[in-house]
Amino acid sequence: MSPLPIASLLLWGTIAGLDLASLLQGLFNRPLVTGAVAGVIIGDPGAGLRIGAALELFALDVLPVGASRYPDYGAATVAAVALGAWQPWAAALGPAVLLGLLLAQLGGVTVVAHRRINAWALRRLAPELDRGDPGVANQLHLFGLGTDLLRSALLAGFGLGTVLLLFRSPRFDLSTGQALTVVAVTGGFVALISGALRRAGTARRIAWLAGGILLGVLGLAAL
């Protein structure tokens, strides 16, 4: 295994974290995208795509609506790819995805904390803001951007630190790794399917979903 390019992964994890809500929201936080780039950085693009795809199944269940609490898959996916790269993937996929899931939930907690820090800053400057003093809104906004940058960087650092610690601990044997892979992929499909059914809502959309599955099965059988 080649040594991890920590600085590049840290930078990418931070960018992906910012993309979750504060900046752009341009799909850079989606596990498939984050994982693909992390795989390229590490030099194992295949692992990046597979681990990213498995975590994407979970992410597709998430609706990042308004004040709802949602996980942050950016730094989590970077750490998951760092853990699972350069290994027999049938056994490495499961442990990597499980680490990604844990870190994504932790990321969700940090998003809430960031919003509370923003609220603290807002309360301090609310009189000036409500008076219409110039520059106050910009000041609060830059503060929010800066603290989210810090949040994302800390989360990416924590994830990569966890991976470095796990590298020092004994690995799972092949069959345990494979069993965990089946568990992780099944969990991903539970998330995807229950999310799709919940979101579909109407019978018409469920029919679209069923039609899609049928198309996929036919396509798979044809090739």
């Binding site: 504060s22 597709l60 027999p88 089946v182």
Partner: protein
Amino acid sequence: MIPRFRALLRLSSLQASYTYERMQGVGIAVAEEPLLEPLRSEPERERAARSRSAQYFNAHPFLAGAAVGALARAELDGQPAERILRLRTALSGPLGALGDQLFWAGIVPAAMGLALIAVSRGAGIGVVALVVLGYNVLRVLVTWWGLRIGLAHGLQVAHAISASRLPAFAARAGGIAALIVGAAIPWVGAWLLRGTGQPVRATVLVIAGAFVLGLLTLRRPLSAPALTLGAAVLTLLWRWSSA
């Protein structure tokens, strides 16, 4: 730089100062600021407009441009304060619902579903890059369109959006996304489980099991990550006890 381009640029970080109290309020104020520059010669009006612009607001971030444009137009036209605040409240819900339906329940799952199918068929990172590029072009175009339509129609922006093709497209986006995500399920399952010994049988079992669990958790949604982590712990205990 032209004020509306500056507003567009600032809209890309709309949620950086998000709070549970005012939600996107501060972000809206930051994006609206360049559009209020014509009020510089009237400091009192400018101050009052700035004060209003940072109040509570929450909508879909990509469609918030319509609100920013409409609110700025209303301020420049000298509309009464209560009408501007009413517009702010009136736009929040519909722009949120429309954007959620169009992007979060439509375009995003469709884009990621397409990328998943392509990747499972052996396409590399190029396809992922193409999806990201296409999505971002679309997202910027929608925000730009919203900003323009808001600036052009002011208080009448809701009617202008209703008369556009966007609501009809948003209504169809969910069905298209469901079709694409559905097609991705068998492809991705077969791809991810290749290497586990019996890929076809494993894929069928995993997808069937996931369907049953998905249906069981439909009415009382359990967190899939929690379910997965719990199952992983049980698997490790089982492996440990049989070692």
